[in-house]
Structure formats: C-alpha cells, structure tokens
C-alpha cells in the first residue's frame, strides 16, 4: 500500500500518529534549512547570517514560525506521550493522556506565539 497507509488512521490515536509523522517530516525539512542557515556563519563575518535574519525574523514570516512552533511542540509533547505508553504504562488511560497532551500543546503554543508576536511585531 505504501506511504499512504501511514495516514489512514481515523481513531484519535491513529490521527495523532499521522500528525506525528507529518510534523516529523516538517521538522526534518526545517532542520535542514536551519543547518544551512547556520552554515552561513562560516563566512566568519556574520554578514550573511545577519542578512538572512533581517529577512526571516519579520512579521511576514511570523505565521510560518508560529506554525513551525506548533509542529515542534506537538511532536515533542506527543513524543512524551508515546514514551509513557511504549514503556508499558497507562494503556487504560490513553484517552485522557492524549487529551492532556493535546491541551498542553495548544496552551503552550498560544503562549509561545504570543511571546514571539511581541518580539517580532512589538507593542
């Protein structure tokens, strides 16, 4: 069936799995971009880096950054949930734990987005 089989889950846990894969892929792409970004520092002047920063840390790019943070928070917190279960714990409470991890993800994301907003847009 191939890769499409990864995203066929319809239960909350199946959906959480699909999202974990998708956010994982996004983060992987972002990681490559980020490393490329940082490699620019090898020009020893910091000029390329500063130019890149002035383009990307702006209100236009803010929405992408906010979405990226959501991916990171989701992948990390869901990952913690998976660690708990894959060590054999709390299978019977899986619904509550999934709900909790989603709620914490959203709450943390809202807070972090607000902070980023203040930094980038100010006021």
């Amino acid at each position: 069936m191939g890769v499409s089989g990864w995203f066929r889950g319809v239960s909350p846990y199946g959906l959480a799995f699909s999202l974990h894969r998708i956010t994982g892929i996004i983060l992987l792409i972002y990681l490559c971009m980020h490393l490329t970004y940082l490699t620019s520092l090898t020009d020893k002047t910091g000029k390329t880096y500063e130019t890149l920063i002035s383009i990307t840390v702006t209100p236009t790019f803010l929405p992408f950054d906010i979405l990226l943070v959501l991916c990171g928070l989701y992948h990390g917190l869901n990952g913690l949930r998976l660690i708990v279960h894959e060590f054999g714990f709390a299978y019977e409470q899986r619904k509550a734990i999934l709900a909790a991890s989603v709620i914490i993800t959203i709450a943390a994301w809202l807070y972090v987005s607000y902070v980023m907003y203040k930094i980038v847009v100010g006021g």
């Binding site: 889950g9 239960s11 894959e86």
Partner: protein
C-alpha cells in the same frame, strides 16, 4: 434495497462492481454477500464459515473499516451504499480473498505454544492455575487471527512486519503462569521487524472484533523483551 459496491480482482485487473441486495430485518453483510453469490453472480469469492464471529474467516473492509462480515448488521452501517474491499496490507488473491500464509507464518515464528520441559506426553499431570492467574492472560487467548489488526497497522503498510496479532500471541504465552518459554521468544520480538516497528498508532485495538487490545499486548511484550535483552547484554 441496498447497494453493495465491491472491489473485485480476477488475478490481473482490479475493478468495482455494484449489486442491488434486498434488505431484510437483521440481515448481516455476510448474508448480503451470500445473496449475491447465490442469486446474482456466483463468481464472487470471499471467505466465510461459522457466521457467529468465532472463526475469523470473514474479516474484510466494510465502509472503510475492517470488520467481520458475519456480525456486521447492514442496518447498523446507516447507509444504503455498502462499500466492501479486501483487507489492506494483504496481497489479494481474488475479490475479497487475501493471502494469509504469511500471516500464519509470522504467528508461528513467535513460538505460540506452551514451552515447558517437565511435561509428559504419556503420563500428563494437571498443572495448577488459579482463576486470577487465568485472568492475567485470558483475554489475549480470544484472538481469532482474523487479520483486522494487521490491516490497519500503519507500520505494516510499508514493510512486512511481525504485526500485532503475532506479538499478542507471544505475550499471551509469556503471561500464562504455566509457561517457561519467555527466553525463547525474546529474539523474535526484538528482531528488526518485531516490537520496535510499533509506534503506538493503536489502530489495531480500535478494530479488533474481540476487543483484545493488541496495542497493550505489544507495549507490554516490548518492555518484557527489552528488559531480557538488556540483561543479556550485561550478563555477557
């Protein structure tokens, strides 16, 4: 009247075919399929036997989810179009019949039998097991080997893996107080296509017709096997 839309396969090409089935009160999907076979098109191939949800023959994808056709009431699907396909993650032989040799071979690999060297074939002796000890593994003995869990496992979509049913069978024996064979099963569980392929999508538990919770068995078996595996490294 209900429309049965069935995904068919004749060995070389795959195609959809629709049939009109007269709906009677209490009619199951299996009865609908038998109506088609006996009255409309007898070339339709599908597995069935007990019609009481104990043999596991008739697992198929009905309106998007794997179910046992014999215990699925058409009325409960709340639709006048019933879409029927063979199980995902299995190779299709014909129409709704899929290849199960591999599935059973995987089950065999985990040594799903009681391992104990103090039993005698000629003069067997009763082994004591309290009701509490029985309860610890009993639910996992109810597996029909129907294949529904394997068909929804996302890990099985891209790789031939041991799968939830086989690992649940291993766990069932490791939790049976009479068994002494856990060591013999560790290697196959920790193998490349074993418990490590599980990432807890837990879809298997959602579709199991006997509500066995294979997802739980896989995690528990993973932990048991991993602990044994680590101990082995240190004792080495």
């Amino acid at each position: 009247m209900v429309e049965f839309r069935i995904k068919r396969f004749d060995g070389s090409r795959s195609y959809w075919q629709s049939f009109e089935v007269p709906l009677k009160k209490g009619m199951t999907v299996l009865e609908g399929l038998l109506y088609i076979k006996e009255n409309l098109d007898s070339t339709l191939a599908f597995r069935y036997s007990c019609r009481m949800a104990v043999c596991g023959s008739c697992a198929m994808k009905i309106n998007g989810r794997p179910r046992l056709a014999c215990e699925t009431q058409i009325a409960a699907l709340k639709s006048d179009k019933i879409t029927i396909e063979p199980l995902d993650n299995f190779i299709v032989i014909k129409d709704l019949v899929t290849e199960f040799e591999g599935f059973f071979k995987k089950h065999e690999r985990v040594k799903p039998y009681l391992i104990r060297d103090d039993i005698s074939y000629e003069s067997p002796v009763e082994l004591i097991q309290t009701p509490e000890e029985l309860k610890a593994y009993y639910d996992f003995t109810l597996c029909l080997k129907c294949g529904a869990c394997y068909s929804v496992c996302p890990a099985a979509a891209t790789r031939d893996i041991l799968g939830p049913a086989a690992i649940t069978a291993a766990y069932r024996f490791c939790m049976d107080s009479r068994d002494r064979g856990e060591d013999k099963r560790v290697d196959v569980i920790l193998s490349d296509d074993g418990a490590w392929r599980c990432h807890f999508a837990a879809e298997c538990s959602e579709v199991c017709p006997k509500n066995i919770n294979p997802a739980k068995a896989v995690q528990k078996m993973r932990v048991k096997a991993a602990i044994k595996g680590i101990k082995r490294i240190f004792r080495w």
